[in-house]
């Protein structure tokens, strides 16, 4: 069995009387594409903030890349990549400058930055854009670059928070190809999304409702279990019982 890169046991996060995460338990394995689904307000964002070292759990055991989220947040930050739903590159810097900036922030040496920038530009076929400002790029390209930058420092895990919001279907397809390539290199992908067709691409998915994980399995097992033909129907049955 592959190594666990994320171990969560009985994670609880409370804000005053409100319980945002209620006894979450799950493991994510190396190189896995793990889909983290749930309606808005189900507690996904809170969980991601804890896993990425931005916030500490009220109780429970959370280990990311082998480090404890309560006490070793700084070590976690060095070993993860992050791409959020808002677009996260600097519009007034060029492609090359953005890459160098994030490379520097993650402590890459100058030669590493030069080398990886070249690789990245070739892989994305971005050579013609290298000295263009980000604001001059179309959204699809920005999104791809954003992802490439998030894994520039070869993190063990990359968190993608609704990475494909507002992108056309073709770009979304290309984006998922990049995700697959990255997972094959051994980088674990932890992704949240609202697109149920994307959920089908994941190795395993968890569905959250009211702060709890109510389902966790491979997409095909879940469909079998609920006796439906798509993840979307599973989601509707679980997350909005009244509607389904």
């Amino acid at each position: 069995m592959k190594e666990k890169v994320i171990e969560v046991e009985n994670l609880v996060k409370r804000f005053g009387h409100f319980t945002a995460n209620d006894r979450l338990s799950f493991d994510v394995y190396e190189g896995e594409i793990f889909g983290f689904l749930g309606a808005n307000g189900a507690g996904k964002t809170t969980a991601i903030r804890i896993l990425s070292g931005l916030s500490s759990p009220t109780s429970g055991k959370v280990k990311v890349a082998g480090f404890d989220a309560g006490t070793q947040a700084e070590m976690i930050k060095r070993n993860i990549g992050y791409m959020c739903q808002k677009f996260s590159l600097y519009e007034d810097l060029t492609v090359r400058e953005n890459i160098a900036l994030y490379g520097g922030i993650y402590g890459l040496s100058r030669s590493e930055i030069t080398e990886r920038t070249a690789q990245l530009l070739d892989r994305l076929r971005f050579r013609e854009y290298e000295n263009k400002l980000i604001s001059d790029l179309p959204l699809g390209l920005k999104q791809k670059l954003s992802f490439a930058v998030a894994v520039l420092h070869e993190p063990r895990i990359v968190f993608l928070d609704e990475p494909t919001g507002g992108v056309d279907p073709i770009t979304r397809r290309q984006f998922w190809e990049m995700i697959y390539e990255t997972a094959e290199r051994g980088i674990t992908i932890f992704v949240t999304t609202h697109y149920m067709d994307e959920a089908e691409y994941c190795d395993r998915i968890s569905i959250m409702n009211d702060g709890r994980i109510v389902a966790l399995d491979t997409p095909s097992n879940l469909k079998k279990q609920y006796n439906v033909s798509s993840v979307e129907e599973v989601f509707i049955k679980i997350a909005r019982p009244g509607v389904g």
Binding site: E74, K77, Y82, K86, Y102, G104, I105
Partner: protein
């Protein structure tokens, strides 16, 4: 450290690529110095005065000649009757009308007393006050002259008015300290709060927080360029005031620069504080402009002397950081005072800086939760 420097470099790029930021940083200070120095002059020179002489005798001719040759006034019109006063003031060129009553000279000799009215255009209160003050002074001077010639042996008292600190009563020596105070708080606090909220608004702040950069590094990285640029601004303004207006720094320039750094630091920490309470750039701009710029202009003693304010405003101005810096900078630049006389103000600024940084750090942590 390398991470930090890379981050600072990026911040400089943001500034130098945005012409608007550059303009606010350097264009506005230069423009303000020139505007305050030249256009909004508090001195009067060649102000239009109309004369309504109902007496036309030797004394009135002499006195009006004296007034008009003083260099402060120039004659804009000769009036024939009271009816014309309103009309000529409304035209705007005439700032005041000087009226000699009928039989002015005769009365003065016979009764030892004659009256002269100065009717000024009150719609420009500043100019009106200045014009009436100047005219009164000239008339008093004239009184003494004729008193002297009439009573040959009487003691002649010639009052000599001397102005300390600003002997020529040049208003720009008052404005330069004011402009430095205003510009620094505006540039430092406004720019910092905007640049930090911009990262929040664009979502890049989240990415930075998830990165191995520590929050302290992020904040320092964002304010360092503004600290350097604000300091350059001080040097530019001081050089300009010296080159253009010939206003030297009387006291220690080292002390002045050190105090400026303290004030910049205070403004930057205020900017950080503003950024922690506002979530959009608009909010940050609004708070900075309404909360800082207006009070700085109105309550710091920059334009309106604090001594003349109602007590309430006086107390209110005690919480305005610019008030203290204006005292400090005026002291050093114009009076040449040393630290001995301004240590209290300096201490207040240090205290404020500490408090602002303290609150910001707390707020920043709370937000992370």
């Amino acid at each position: 450290m390398k991470r930090f420097l890379g981050f600072v470099k990026k911040e400089f790029r943001h500034i130098f690529r945005d012409y608007r930021t550059l303009f606010i940083l350097f264009g506005i200070p230069v423009a303000e110095i020139l505007i305050f120095g030249y256009a909004i002059s508090m001195d009067i020179k060649n102000a239009g005065v109309a004369i309504l002489d109902l007496s036309h005798d030797e004394v009135t001719e002499k006195l009006s000649g004296k007034i008009l040759s003083s260099g402060f006034f120039k004659k804009s019109a000769d009036l024939l009757s009271y009816d014309e006063i309103d009309q000529v003031l409304k035209k705007g060129k005439t700032k005041a009308v000087i009226v000699f009553e009928e039989g002015f000279g005769k009365r003065l000799i016979r009764e030892g007393k004659a009256s002269l009215s100065i009717i000024a255009d009150g719609s420009e209160p500043n100019t009106a006050t200045l014009v009436t003050n100047y005219t009164t002074a000239i008339v008093n001077d004239f009184n003494i002259e004729i008193a002297g010639s009439a009573l040959n042996n009487a003691l002649k008292i010639v009052p000599e008015v001397r102005m300390f600190y600003n002997p020529e009563l040049k208003s720009y020596s008052m404005f330069v300290p004011g402009v430095i105070t205003l510009i620094l708080i505006l540039v430092s606090a406004l720019m910092t709060s905007v640049t930090i909220t911009r990262e929040k608004e664009f979502g890049t702040m989240e990415v930075l927080l998830v990165s191995p950069l520590k929050p302290v590094q992020i904040i320092l990285g964002k304010v360092t360029p503004y600290f350097i640029l604000s300091f350059i601004n001080v040097l530019v303004i001081l050089a300009m005031s010296w080159l253009v207006f010939g206003l030297p720094v009387k006291g220690s320039i080292i002390l002045l620069l050190a105090e400026s750094m303290l004030y910049i630091l205070m403004s930057l920490s205020l900017g950080i504080l503003i950024s922690t309470v506002s979530s959009t750039m608009q909010q940050a701009i609004f708070i900075s402009l309404v909360g800082l710029m207006l009070p700085t202009i109105l309550l710091s003693g920059f334009i309106f002397p604090i001594e003349n304010m109602p007590k309430v405003y006086d107390y209110l101005s005690l919480i305005m950081p610019p008030r203290y810096f204006i005292t400090i900078i005026k002291g050093i630049m114009i009076k040449g005072t040393g630290l001995l006389y301004i240590w209290k103000e300096t201490f207040v600024l240090i205290l404020m800086t500490t408090v602002f940084i303290g609150i910001s750090v707390r707020k920043f942590k709370v937000r992370l939760e």
